[in-house]
């Protein structure tokens, strides 16, 4: 199966899962509506009528018809989330490129958030007291605009916007694998409790902020709306006390925010939950005539570079498979082909893993060269040698400069101009002609001018460490892959009857060690760049543990596996420290 057909097969599978997530999201709307109605219609003295009345209301024809727009917006929301998960994630070096690539998608998602927020508020207000139910109401015999209704609709839009800004605006949606695998029912239960409890606290700040904004600008908006609708103005929510003393309205607003935030959080988690379920991958394809045509191999899954989720799922599958002792799938990796007696399964898997590891390490090394602190530490100018200072003083000065560079400490005095200019080694001073000089000066001044225009640097310059941040944020497949590879190597000691793994041990150890060395270099400057520390920690610890596991198992044979040198010494020190 070619890479594109594997990608399509996996995408099709994931689309089916997204559909399931959409159905779950729709179902949860009715559950949340029930919770809302139970909260607003609470009757302490008549609990039975409270529950039956609420259930009757949820099951009524009005609810079914009125919830159609909300259901449609939830489907739109699901589609945009699905697009976020399954689309390609290229690296955008500048903010301008990011806007070009991700801007439309983010706008669609923002629109979906606003729509879900607005329609939830609209649907829920329909069940409240008549004062809150409609945009217009009769006051003193005249049509007036209801400030309460405007407040609640605005609350819905604000809650949607708040969730988008806090969760989706900067970050890309990511897939999270559960720490502990539980049944789907247990997962749903945990998710529901956790989301509702979390939203109760998270809703306080947006509710209060929105109320403050409504107190300031609410009358203006109501005034505009009354002009548009040609109705009278509602004066019930004018002034600070008008807003602050209306406890019922504030409670409804808070409850609405809780519902909307829980709703959006749940929808996001449903996607994470269904997408993180195991993909039905195989180690090797069946050659029999009745074999399933559509089955995707683990190696093919790892090679789907344009869908990040598929790569993560394949890597996770490999990791789980590597941990499962005595499993037939793990044994399949070490098997030879029949006929031919070739370790085809291991060969393709090992090559794919090493290629992914190698390209990741290369990209990381390349990206790290653009980090000035790290770069500067490597290319430090030698301090000026004069006869009066000793060698130890020189060494101390150099160490101090290295330390300052490593920790991003800038010199108080900027380097003198003549120090910065490289003098030709031959000592001959090449004098440029006036034309060259003028064009160089012109170019420099134009560059300086362009950099002074506000926003130019912000939009069109690559932020420092941006590529490194991108690589680390998308390093989950490498995390699983490294650990799985290490587990397979360790297991090969007992389970590999033909010794198919041992030929590749040096390459595997070298690849992991190279990545470890790069990450160790990066760890000294990680505070200076905007890398999410958890991603870096996870990768660094996984790589260290994997290398340790292999070296610990093959401790006695390290000298035979690797040629003598610095690398061997490093690895022996790793496992033999006392």
């Amino acid at each position: 199966m070619s890479a594109s057909s594997s990608s399509n097969a996996c995408k099709l599978l994931l689309l089916g899962r997204c559909l399931r997530a959409v159905l779950l999201s729709v179902a949860i709307q009715f559950l949340l509506l029930t919770v809302f109605l139970l909260s607003v219609n609470f009757q302490l003295l008549h609990p039975l009528s409270w529950v039956t009345g609420t259930l009757r209301l949820v099951a009524s024809w009005y609810t079914w018809f009125a919830s159609i727009p909300l259901v449609a917006s939830v489907v739109l929301y699901g589609v945009s989330l699905c697009q976020q998960h399954l689309s390609e994630r290229p690296y955008c070096p500048t903010r301008y490129r990011w806007l070009l690539h991700y801007g439309p998608r983010k706008l669609l998602l923002l629109g979906a958030h606003l729509l879900v927020g607005f329609l939830t508020a609209w649907l829920y207000t329909g069940y409240l007291h008549t004062d809150y139910q409609h945009l217009r109401y009769k006051c003193y015999g005249q049509e007036c605009i209801s400030a309460y209704h405007v407040y609640l609709l605005g609350m819905g839009i604000t809650a949607g916007c708040y969730y988008f800004v806090s969760v989706h605006m900067r970050q890309e949606v990511s897939i999270e694998f559960p720490i502990v695998e539980q049944t789907r029912g247990e997962k749903l239960r945990e998710l529901l409790y956790a989301s509702l409890a979390r939203s109760l606290v998270r809703s306080l700040l947006p509710t209060l902020s929105y109320t403050l904004v409504f107190w300031l600008f609410g009358p203006l908006i109501c005034h505009r709306l009354s002009h548009i609708l040609s109705v009278d103005l509602d004066e019930r929510l004018e002034g600070f006390f008008g807003v602050a003393t209306n406890v019922r309205l504030l409670f409804y607003g808070y409850l609405l925010t809780v519902q909307i935030l829980s709703n959006m959080h749940l929808m996001r988690c449903f996607y994470g939950m269904v997408l993180s379920e195991d993909l039905p991958l195989v180690v090797s394809k069946q050659r029999a005539a009745f074999a399933h045509e559509q089955e995707v191999t683990m190696v093919a899954g790892l090679g789907v570079f344009n869908v990040y989720v598929v790569q993560c799922l394949a890597a996770n599958y490999f990791y789980k498979l590597a941990l499962r002792k005595d499993s037939p799938q793990r044994a399949e990796i070490f098997q030879l082909t029949e006929p031919g007696n070739r370790p085809a399964n291991w060969r393709t898997l090992c090559d794919q893993c090493l290629s992914i590891l190698g390209s990741f390490t290369e990209e990381l090394t390349e990206s790290m060269q653009k980090i000035s602190v790290l770069n500067g530490a490597q290319s430090l100018p030698m301090p000026k040698i004069s006869e009066s200072i000793t060698t130890s003083f020189m060494a101390e000065k150099l160490l101090m400069r290295q330390y300052n560079q490593m920790h991003g400490i800038r010199p108080i005095v900027s380097p003198r101009r003549e120090d910065a200019v490289d003098r030709p080694a031959d000592g001959i001073r090449h004098v440029p002609n006036w034309c060259e000089r003028v064009s160089k000066q012109l170019e420099q001044s134009l560059q300086r001018l362009a950099q002074r225009v506000p926003g130019i640097v912000y939009l069109f310059e690559e932020p420092e460490g941006a590529k490194t941040t991108f690589l680390l944020a998308n390093s989950l497949p490498v995390v699983y892959l490294t650990q799985a590879l290490a587990q397979i190597c360790v297991a090969s000691l007992k389970e590999d009857p033909y010794g198919v793994v041992q030929n590749d041990l040096p390459a595997i150890i070298k690849a992991i060690n190279k990545l470890r060395n790069e990450l160790e270099k990066l760890s000294s400057v990680i505070g200076n760049i905007k890398v999410p520390s958890s991603n870096f920690n996870v990768l660094r610890c996984a790589v260290r543990r994997s290398l340790y596991a292999i070296c610990n198992s093959f401790c006695d044979y390290l000298g035979d596996i690797l040629p003598p040198g610095e690398e061997l010494r490093q690895l022996q020190a790793l496992v033999c420290q006392e």
């Binding site: 502990v180 049944t183 920690n537 610990n552 401790c555």
Partner: protein, 468 residues
């Protein structure tokens, strides 16, 4: 069923002056660190610890200023105490009376809350001592011992809230010291597998992660690399790493759920079940099962393969599971109740191909631990057990007791479907009053495949005993 009455006396290995005559003497033991925590505690008592506040001279402040400062220094409760202090009462009686009123109201509210949610009460040290594996945890010099899984590193947690790390041939002067204000009342520790330098310490404040580097030999490390608090701000009373060091399971005697942490990214997932709070966790050697005891009769065994499922068990009349240990092969679990002097076995072996997995497991009593006298002086051994330890080869089982001071050693024969146990001998301390506080076996290293039992005695002395 095996019984303690058949135990034979082991030669008093620690008292013989001639090394060659000692029963368990092997040359490697001479290189083990000589530790006596009691003498180290006397030399550096906790009272002599330096705290920044000692160097400053108190100044006269107005009552309100003092209360405000205390609020920002120590929080609400301390400022309330300050408002009700005799000094404030003397200077501003009105403020003190207001403080009394607030304290009374809060006391009423807290009392009401405790009546409704009794499990939310603050856990006292006495209550922690009731459920940890260390005998007389409150007063014992040594509170926990943990051997590194890969190297010769022994971590010893003392009553002074300091963890000392000993290496081969090291002594008190060269030990690495791990000490932090965020690490008090240490209940458990574990070195991280596949990571030579990381140790996690369970204490009242939660979990303290330390990176123990060889370069720290000379001085004290400054702070833990990470500190994780329990979500409900409860002390951690038991912790266990899984075999590849990716997950850490913790339990607290105030919380019903077991928490599984992924320390690298700081994520955790609680495993919630109805029932009493958890007290003890033991992960099977191959990580297929997780044994979780509670503060009541209930205990659970989690199947950690694929989807995590649990089976609920109830132990004998009254009490709780005091201690448990897995066989090195992971097929047998031994445990004892806090009240019954009987050793139970839980078997995880499929005995026949046709039986379903649920029917396989059954609990069998395998040893009677009732107290009996072992010598002419009528020295007793037995009673309710305190701690179990199984040697890494699976040949010896060591048991300490709550009320008697000798250590019982049983021989075990692990077969594919069966486990046989027989009484071997007993070990005793230097004096009749000396009792074992904590025991554990050293893991097998590349250069040493002998089972070495490490015993922390109540006198603060740590002793090593090599088995055949």
């Amino acid at each position: 069923m095996a019984a303690l009455s058949n135990l034979k006396q082991c030669p008093p290995f620690s008292t013989l002056p001639d090394l060659a005559l000692r029963h368990n003497h092997i040359p490697e033991l001479e290189r083990y660190p000589q530790i006596n925590l009691n003498s180290e505690l006397l030399a550096n008592p906790a009272g002599q610890r330096f705290y920044g506040g000692q160097s400053f001279v108190p100044v006269d402040e107005s009552v309100l200023k003092r209360i405000t400062r205390t609020f920002f220094d120590g929080g609400f409760w301390e400022s309330l105490e300050e408002a009700r202090s005799p000094k404030s009462r003397e200077q501003a009686p009105l403020i003190a009376q207001a403080g009394d009123l607030i304290a009374r109201l809060l006391g009423l509210a807290t009392g009401l809350k405790l009546r409704i949610f009794p499990h939310t009460q603050e856990l006292s040290a006495e209550r922690i001592a009731q459920f940890v594996e260390t005998r007389d945890w409150l007063n014992s010099d040594v509170r926990f011992l943990a051997w590194n899984c890969h190297f010769f590193n022994l971590a010893v947690a003392g009553v002074d809230d300091v963890v000392r790390i000993y290496y081969k041939n090291s002594n008190a002067a060269t030990a690495t010291v791990l000490k932090s204000p965020t690490q008090t009342q240490i209940t458990c520790m574990a070195w991280r597998p596949l990571c030579s330098t990381e140790i996690v310490i369970g204490c009242r404040q939660g979990l303290c992660f330390w990176e123990v580097d060889n370069s720290l030999h000379l001085g004290r490390t400054n702070a833990p690399s990470k500190v994780f608090k329990h979500p409900a701000n409860l002390p951690v009373t038991s912790l266990q790493w899984n075999k590849d060091g990716t997950q850490l399971a913790t339990a607290s005697i105030g919380d019903r759920s077991i928490i599984i942490w992924q320390p690298d990214n700081g994520l955790m997932q609680p495993l919630k079940r109805l029932g009493p709070p958890g007290s003890l966790l033991k992960w099977s050697p191959d990580n297929d099962w997780l044994f979780a005891a509670t503060v009541d009769r209930v205990f659970r065994v989690w199947n950690c393969n694929q989807q995590w499922t649990t089976e609920r068990w109830v132990c004998g009349p009254g009490g709780h599971v005091q201690t448990a240990c897995w066989s090195p092969c992971g097929r047998f679990l031994l445990f004892v109740s806090s009240t019954e002097p009987i050793l139970y076995r839980l078997q995880f072996v499929q005995q026949s191909l046709l039986s379903s997995s649920a029917d396989e497991k059954e609990i069998l009593p395998i040893a009677d631990l009732n107290a009996c006298s072992i010598d002419a002086n009528r020295t007793l051994i037995g009673g309710p057990a305190q701690q179990l330890a199984w040697d890494p080869h699976g040949n010896y089982l060591v048991i300490t007791f709550k009320s008697t001071n000798c250590i019982a050693v049983f021989r075990t024969f692990i077969q594919k479907f069966d486990l046989q146990i027989s009484a071997a001998y007993y070990l005793s301390g230097e004096t009749a009053a000396e009792h074992p506080s904590f025991i554990c076996f050293q893991p097998l290293y590349k250069d040493n495949d002998r089972s070495v039992l490490t015993i922390a005695w109540s006198s603060g002395r740590i002793q090593y005993y090599a088995f055949d």
